[in-house]
Symmetry: C2
Subunit: 154 residues, 2 copies
Amino acid sequence: MSFPSPQHDHGPCVVHALQVAEEECRRRGARLTDIRRRVLELVWRSHAPIGAYALLEALGKAAPPTVYRALDFLLAHGLIHRIEKLNAFVGCPHPGHAHPGQFLLCRQCGAAAELNDESIEQAVRRAAEKTGFLVAGLVVEAEGLCPACRKDAV
Amino acid sequence: MSFPSPQHDHGPCVVHALQVAEEECRRRGARLTDIRRRVLELVWRSHAPIGAYALLEALGKAAPPTVYRALDFLLAHGLIHRIEKLNAFVGCPHPGHAHPGQFLLCRQCGAAAELNDESIEQAVRRAAEKTGFLVAGLVVEAEGLCPACRKDAV
DNA sequence: TTGCGGAACGTTATAATATAACATTTAGCC
DNA sequence: GGCTAAATGTTATATTATAACGTTCCGCAA
Protein backbone atom coordinates (compact mmCIF):
# COMPACT_ATOMS: atom_id res chain seq x y z
CA MET A 1 0.00 0.00 0.00
CA SER A 2 2.96 2.28 0.43
CA PHE A 3 6.70 2.43 -0.08
CA PRO A 4 8.95 0.30 2.08
CA SER A 5 11.72 2.22 3.80
CA PRO A 6 14.93 1.84 1.78
CA GLN A 7 16.61 -0.24 4.46
CA HIS A 8 13.67 -2.40 5.43
CA ASP A 9 14.42 -6.06 6.09
CA HIS A 10 13.29 -7.68 2.92
CA GLY A 11 13.67 -11.31 3.92
CA PRO A 12 10.49 -11.66 5.96
CA CYS A 13 8.70 -9.74 3.26
CA VAL A 14 9.49 -12.48 0.71
CA VAL A 15 8.72 -15.29 3.13
CA HIS A 16 5.38 -13.74 3.91
CA ALA A 17 4.49 -13.30 0.25
CA LEU A 18 5.25 -16.96 -0.41
CA GLN A 19 3.17 -18.10 2.54
CA VAL A 20 0.23 -16.03 1.41
CA ALA A 21 0.63 -17.41 -2.10
CA GLU A 22 0.68 -21.01 -0.86
CA GLU A 23 -2.47 -20.38 1.09
CA GLU A 24 -4.23 -18.64 -1.74
CA CYS A 25 -3.39 -21.44 -4.15
CA ARG A 26 -4.61 -24.06 -1.72
CA ARG A 27 -7.85 -22.17 -1.33
CA ARG A 28 -8.24 -22.01 -5.11
CA GLY A 29 -7.14 -25.54 -5.84
CA ALA A 30 -4.30 -24.18 -7.95
CA ARG A 31 -0.88 -25.81 -8.02
CA LEU A 32 1.99 -23.60 -6.98
CA THR A 33 4.66 -25.74 -8.61
CA ASP A 34 8.37 -25.39 -8.10
CA ILE A 35 8.91 -23.21 -11.14
CA ARG A 36 6.00 -20.99 -10.28
CA ARG A 37 7.19 -20.61 -6.72
CA ARG A 38 10.71 -19.81 -7.87
CA VAL A 39 9.44 -17.17 -10.27
CA LEU A 40 7.26 -15.65 -7.57
CA GLU A 41 10.20 -15.58 -5.21
CA LEU A 42 12.36 -13.88 -7.83
CA VAL A 43 9.67 -11.30 -8.43
CA TRP A 44 9.63 -10.60 -4.72
CA ARG A 45 13.40 -10.24 -4.50
CA SER A 46 12.87 -6.52 -4.71
CA HIS A 47 10.09 -4.01 -4.83
CA ALA A 48 11.08 -2.95 -8.31
CA PRO A 49 9.23 -4.55 -11.21
CA ILE A 50 11.35 -7.14 -13.01
CA GLY A 51 11.24 -8.14 -16.67
CA ALA A 52 10.57 -11.62 -18.02
CA TYR A 53 14.07 -12.04 -19.42
CA ALA A 54 15.72 -10.99 -16.17
CA LEU A 55 13.66 -13.68 -14.47
CA LEU A 56 14.67 -16.10 -17.17
CA GLU A 57 18.32 -15.42 -16.58
CA ALA A 58 17.92 -15.71 -12.82
CA LEU A 59 16.16 -19.03 -13.24
CA GLY A 60 19.15 -20.45 -15.05
CA LYS A 61 18.51 -23.14 -17.63
CA ALA A 62 15.08 -22.27 -18.94
CA ALA A 63 13.46 -21.09 -22.15
CA PRO A 64 11.16 -18.08 -22.52
CA PRO A 65 7.90 -20.06 -22.54
CA THR A 66 8.76 -21.47 -19.15
CA VAL A 67 8.89 -18.11 -17.48
CA TYR A 68 5.98 -16.67 -19.45
CA ARG A 69 3.82 -19.60 -18.44
CA ALA A 70 4.70 -19.14 -14.82
CA LEU A 71 3.97 -15.43 -15.10
CA ASP A 72 0.61 -16.18 -16.74
CA PHE A 73 -0.28 -18.45 -13.87
CA LEU A 74 0.74 -15.91 -11.23
CA LEU A 75 -1.17 -13.15 -13.03
CA ALA A 76 -4.25 -15.32 -13.41
CA HIS A 77 -4.31 -15.98 -9.69
CA GLY A 78 -3.64 -12.41 -8.72
CA LEU A 79 -0.26 -13.13 -7.15
CA ILE A 80 1.58 -10.62 -9.30
CA HIS A 81 0.73 -7.61 -11.44
CA ARG A 82 2.03 -6.56 -14.81
CA ILE A 83 3.31 -3.00 -15.17
CA GLU A 84 2.38 -2.06 -18.72
CA LYS A 85 4.69 0.85 -19.16
CA LEU A 86 7.70 -1.18 -18.07
CA ASN A 87 6.84 -4.57 -19.55
CA ALA A 88 7.66 -5.90 -16.12
CA PHE A 89 6.12 -7.66 -13.16
CA VAL A 90 5.74 -6.96 -9.48
CA GLY A 91 4.42 -8.94 -6.53
CA CYS A 92 0.91 -8.29 -5.31
CA PRO A 93 0.95 -7.52 -1.59
CA HIS A 94 -2.60 -8.73 -0.97
CA PRO A 95 -3.79 -11.44 -3.30
CA GLY A 96 -7.10 -13.08 -2.64
CA HIS A 97 -9.43 -10.95 -4.67
CA ALA A 98 -9.13 -9.92 -8.27
CA HIS A 99 -8.30 -6.24 -8.49
CA PRO A 100 -6.74 -4.03 -11.10
CA GLY A 101 -4.32 -2.13 -8.93
CA GLN A 102 -2.86 1.31 -9.31
CA PHE A 103 0.87 1.77 -9.24
CA LEU A 104 3.37 4.38 -8.19
CA LEU A 105 6.68 3.85 -9.98
CA CYS A 106 9.81 5.61 -8.78
CA ARG A 107 11.89 6.78 -11.71
CA GLN A 108 14.93 7.02 -9.49
CA CYS A 109 15.17 3.75 -7.58
CA GLY A 110 12.67 1.73 -9.59
CA ALA A 111 10.55 0.79 -6.60
CA ALA A 112 6.83 0.27 -7.11
CA ALA A 113 3.99 0.68 -4.66
CA GLU A 114 0.48 -0.53 -5.18
CA LEU A 115 -2.54 1.56 -4.32
CA ASN A 116 -6.11 0.43 -4.16
CA ASP A 117 -7.84 3.70 -4.02
CA GLU A 118 -11.57 3.64 -4.54
CA SER A 119 -11.70 7.29 -5.45
CA ILE A 120 -9.37 6.81 -8.43
CA GLU A 121 -11.44 4.02 -9.86
CA GLN A 122 -14.61 5.95 -9.19
CA ALA A 123 -13.27 9.04 -10.90
CA VAL A 124 -12.48 6.99 -14.00
CA ARG A 125 -15.83 5.24 -13.98
CA ARG A 126 -17.68 8.49 -13.58
CA ALA A 127 -15.78 10.17 -16.41
CA ALA A 128 -16.21 7.11 -18.64
CA GLU A 129 -19.93 6.91 -17.96
CA LYS A 130 -20.33 10.46 -19.21
CA THR A 131 -19.25 9.24 -22.64
CA GLY A 132 -21.32 6.05 -22.39
CA PHE A 133 -18.25 3.85 -22.04
CA LEU A 134 -18.42 0.74 -19.86
CA VAL A 135 -15.20 0.17 -17.94
CA ALA A 136 -14.08 -3.45 -17.61
CA GLY A 137 -10.39 -3.11 -16.86
CA LEU A 138 -8.23 -0.28 -15.64
CA VAL A 139 -4.53 0.48 -15.81
CA VAL A 140 -3.22 3.32 -13.64
CA GLU A 141 0.52 3.87 -13.54
CA ALA A 142 2.04 6.99 -12.06
CA GLU A 143 5.71 7.72 -12.55
CA GLY A 144 7.60 10.00 -10.21
CA LEU A 145 9.68 10.05 -7.05
CA CYS A 146 9.17 7.87 -4.01
CA PRO A 147 9.50 9.46 -0.56
CA ALA A 148 13.13 8.37 -0.09
CA CYS A 149 14.33 9.51 -3.52
CA ARG A 150 12.39 12.71 -3.16
CA LYS A 151 14.38 13.50 -0.03
CA ASP A 152 17.67 12.63 -1.70
CA ALA A 153 16.80 14.88 -4.61
CA VAL A 154 16.44 17.99 -2.46
CA MET B 1 -13.08 13.85 -25.75
CA SER B 2 -15.64 11.19 -26.56
CA PHE B 3 -16.37 8.42 -29.01
CA PRO B 4 -17.17 9.29 -32.61
CA SER B 5 -20.34 7.71 -33.92
CA PRO B 6 -19.47 4.57 -35.87
CA GLN B 7 -20.51 6.05 -39.20
CA HIS B 8 -19.09 9.52 -38.72
CA ASP B 9 -17.42 11.08 -41.73
CA HIS B 10 -13.79 10.54 -40.98
CA GLY B 11 -12.29 12.53 -43.83
CA PRO B 12 -12.70 16.02 -42.36
CA CYS B 13 -11.51 14.64 -39.07
CA VAL B 14 -8.13 13.72 -40.60
CA VAL B 15 -7.88 16.97 -42.54
CA HIS B 16 -8.56 18.93 -39.40
CA ALA B 17 -5.96 17.03 -37.39
CA LEU B 18 -3.34 17.75 -40.04
CA GLN B 19 -4.22 21.44 -40.11
CA VAL B 20 -3.95 21.68 -36.36
CA ALA B 21 -0.62 19.86 -36.49
CA GLU B 22 0.75 22.20 -39.15
CA GLU B 23 -0.23 25.15 -37.06
CA GLU B 24 1.17 23.73 -33.87
CA CYS B 25 4.50 22.94 -35.54
CA ARG B 26 4.73 26.42 -37.02
CA ARG B 27 4.06 27.88 -33.60
CA ARG B 28 6.81 25.72 -32.09
CA GLY B 29 9.32 26.13 -34.89
CA ALA B 30 9.24 22.38 -35.47
CA ARG B 31 9.46 20.85 -38.93
CA LEU B 32 6.52 18.69 -39.91
CA THR B 33 8.35 16.90 -42.72
CA ASP B 34 6.78 14.70 -45.34
CA ILE B 35 7.44 11.46 -43.45
CA ARG B 36 6.16 12.90 -40.21
CA ARG B 37 3.04 14.18 -41.88
CA ARG B 38 2.42 10.84 -43.57
CA VAL B 39 2.81 8.98 -40.27
CA LEU B 40 0.46 11.39 -38.54
CA GLU B 41 -2.06 10.95 -41.32
CA LEU B 42 -1.83 7.17 -41.04
CA VAL B 43 -2.33 7.37 -37.29
CA TRP B 44 -5.45 9.40 -37.91
CA ARG B 45 -6.83 6.98 -40.50
CA SER B 46 -8.91 5.52 -37.71
CA HIS B 47 -9.71 6.12 -34.08
CA ALA B 48 -8.11 2.84 -33.10
CA PRO B 49 -4.51 2.94 -31.93
CA ILE B 50 -2.11 1.60 -34.55
CA GLY B 51 1.21 -0.16 -34.03
CA ALA B 52 4.58 0.97 -35.33
CA TYR B 53 4.95 -1.96 -37.70
CA ALA B 54 1.49 -1.47 -39.17
CA LEU B 55 2.51 2.10 -39.89
CA LEU B 56 5.75 0.84 -41.34
CA GLU B 57 3.92 -1.44 -43.74
CA ALA B 58 1.49 1.30 -44.70
CA LEU B 59 4.39 3.65 -45.40
CA GLY B 60 5.82 1.25 -47.94
CA LYS B 61 9.56 1.28 -48.43
CA ALA B 62 10.86 2.25 -45.01
CA ALA B 63 12.87 0.75 -42.17
CA PRO B 64 11.82 0.65 -38.50
CA PRO B 65 13.95 3.62 -37.39
CA THR B 66 12.15 5.80 -39.90
CA VAL B 67 8.77 5.26 -38.36
CA TYR B 68 10.03 5.27 -34.79
CA ARG B 69 11.76 8.58 -35.37
CA ALA B 70 8.59 10.06 -36.78
CA LEU B 71 6.63 8.72 -33.82
CA ASP B 72 9.17 10.17 -31.40
CA PHE B 73 8.78 13.56 -33.02
CA LEU B 74 4.99 13.41 -32.93
CA LEU B 75 5.01 12.29 -29.30
CA ALA B 76 7.50 14.99 -28.33
CA HIS B 77 5.25 17.64 -29.79
CA GLY B 78 2.08 16.23 -28.30
CA LEU B 79 0.53 15.37 -31.67
CA ILE B 80 -0.01 11.73 -30.79
CA HIS B 81 -0.17 9.61 -27.66
CA ARG B 82 1.26 6.20 -26.94
CA ILE B 83 -1.09 3.57 -25.53
CA GLU B 84 1.11 1.52 -23.21
CA LYS B 85 -1.04 -1.52 -22.94
CA LEU B 86 -1.32 -1.86 -26.70
CA ASN B 87 2.15 -0.71 -27.76
CA ALA B 88 0.31 1.48 -30.20
CA PHE B 89 -0.30 5.10 -31.08
CA VAL B 90 -3.33 7.32 -31.45
CA GLY B 91 -3.83 10.89 -32.60
CA CYS B 92 -4.22 13.61 -30.02
CA PRO B 93 -7.41 15.58 -30.64
CA HIS B 94 -6.14 18.78 -29.02
CA PRO B 95 -2.40 19.29 -29.19
CA GLY B 96 -0.98 22.55 -28.03
CA HIS B 97 -0.27 21.82 -24.42
CA ALA B 98 1.60 18.91 -22.93
CA HIS B 99 -0.82 16.63 -21.16
CA PRO B 100 -0.76 13.02 -20.10
CA GLY B 101 -4.19 12.00 -21.31
CA GLN B 102 -6.48 9.28 -20.09
CA PHE B 103 -7.80 6.72 -22.53
CA LEU B 104 -10.89 4.62 -22.99
CA LEU B 105 -10.12 1.62 -25.20
CA CYS B 106 -12.93 -0.42 -26.70
CA ARG B 107 -12.09 -4.11 -26.59
CA GLN B 108 -14.66 -4.78 -29.30
CA CYS B 109 -13.99 -2.31 -32.08
CA GLY B 110 -10.62 -1.06 -30.94
CA ALA B 111 -11.60 2.60 -30.89
CA ALA B 112 -9.93 4.89 -28.39
CA ALA B 113 -11.23 8.07 -26.80
CA GLU B 114 -9.16 10.54 -24.86
CA LEU B 115 -10.33 12.08 -21.63
CA ASN B 116 -8.78 14.99 -19.81
CA ASP B 117 -10.55 14.72 -16.55
CA GLU B 118 -9.14 16.81 -13.75
CA SER B 119 -10.79 14.69 -11.09
CA ILE B 120 -8.95 11.55 -12.19
CA GLU B 121 -5.59 13.22 -12.03
CA GLN B 122 -6.47 14.81 -8.73
CA ALA B 123 -7.57 11.51 -7.25
CA VAL B 124 -4.23 9.97 -8.21
CA ARG B 125 -2.25 12.92 -6.89
CA ARG B 126 -4.14 12.91 -3.63
CA ALA B 127 -3.65 9.17 -3.12
CA ALA B 128 0.02 9.40 -4.08
CA GLU B 129 0.62 12.30 -1.70
CA LYS B 130 -0.63 10.20 1.18
CA THR B 131 2.34 7.91 0.63
CA GLY B 132 4.75 10.79 0.08
CA PHE B 133 5.10 10.03 -3.64
CA LEU B 134 5.56 12.87 -6.09
CA VAL B 135 3.69 12.28 -9.35
CA ALA B 136 5.49 13.38 -12.51
CA GLY B 137 3.77 11.34 -15.21
CA LEU B 138 0.51 9.47 -15.34
CA VAL B 139 -0.83 6.65 -17.49
CA VAL B 140 -4.55 5.91 -17.30
CA GLU B 141 -5.96 3.34 -19.70
CA ALA B 142 -9.42 1.89 -19.24
CA GLU B 143 -10.48 -1.09 -21.30
CA GLY B 144 -14.14 -1.84 -21.93
CA LEU B 145 -16.99 -1.23 -24.34
CA CYS B 146 -17.65 1.96 -26.24
CA PRO B 147 -21.24 3.19 -26.49
CA ALA B 148 -21.83 1.65 -29.93
CA CYS B 149 -20.41 -1.78 -29.07
CA ARG B 150 -22.22 -1.73 -25.77
CA LYS B 151 -25.50 -1.40 -27.63
CA ASP B 152 -24.60 -4.19 -30.05
CA ALA B 153 -23.71 -6.46 -27.16
CA VAL B 154 -27.16 -6.22 -25.55
C1' DT C 1 26.12 31.52 -54.13
C1' DT C 2 28.56 28.66 -51.90
C1' DG C 3 29.78 26.26 -48.24
C1' DC C 4 28.97 25.39 -43.15
C1' DG C 5 26.53 22.99 -39.56
C1' DG C 6 22.89 20.68 -37.66
C1' DA C 7 18.72 18.22 -38.37
C1' DA C 8 16.52 14.63 -40.81
C1' DC C 9 16.73 10.44 -43.15
C1' DG C 10 18.69 5.85 -45.05
C1' DT C 11 20.56 1.40 -44.04
C1' DT C 12 22.13 -2.56 -41.66
C1' DA C 13 22.30 -5.05 -37.82
C1' DT C 14 20.69 -6.44 -33.50
C1' DA C 15 18.38 -6.08 -28.92
C1' DA C 16 14.32 -6.91 -26.13
C1' DT C 17 9.82 -8.81 -25.47
C1' DA C 18 6.52 -12.46 -26.46
C1' DT C 19 4.18 -16.56 -28.51
C1' DA C 20 3.18 -20.76 -31.64
C1' DA C 21 3.53 -25.51 -32.09
C1' DC C 22 4.48 -29.84 -30.73
C1' DA C 23 6.99 -33.40 -27.83
C1' DT C 24 7.69 -35.14 -23.19
C1' DT C 25 7.13 -35.56 -18.35
C1' DT C 26 4.68 -35.29 -14.15
C1' DA C 27 0.89 -35.52 -10.78
C1' DG C 28 -3.52 -36.86 -9.35
C1' DC C 29 -6.87 -40.30 -9.45
C1' DC C 30 -9.49 -44.55 -10.28
C1' DG D 1 -0.44 -49.69 -12.61
C1' DG D 2 -2.46 -47.17 -16.12
C1' DC D 3 -5.35 -43.30 -17.64
C1' DT D 4 -5.87 -38.38 -18.18
C1' DA D 5 -5.02 -33.71 -17.88
C1' DA D 6 -1.86 -30.41 -16.48
C1' DA D 7 2.67 -28.86 -16.52
C1' DT D 8 7.02 -28.51 -18.58
C1' DG D 9 10.69 -28.93 -22.28
C1' DT D 10 12.24 -27.57 -26.79
C1' DT D 11 12.67 -25.30 -31.11
C1' DA D 12 11.51 -21.90 -33.89
C1' DT D 13 9.68 -17.55 -34.84
C1' DA D 14 6.80 -13.30 -34.27
C1' DT D 15 6.61 -8.66 -32.58
C1' DT D 16 8.36 -4.40 -30.81
C1' DA D 17 12.27 -1.30 -30.45
C1' DT D 18 16.99 0.70 -30.75
C1' DA D 19 22.18 1.18 -31.82
C1' DA D 20 25.45 2.79 -34.91
C1' DC D 21 26.99 5.01 -38.71
C1' DG D 22 26.75 7.06 -43.27
C1' DT D 23 24.24 10.27 -46.43
C1' DT D 24 21.16 13.88 -47.68
C1' DC D 25 18.73 17.97 -47.02
C1' DC D 26 17.79 22.67 -45.36
C1' DG D 27 18.41 27.13 -43.37
C1' DC D 28 21.65 30.46 -42.84
C1' DA D 29 25.54 33.38 -42.99
C1' DA D 30 29.94 34.84 -45.04
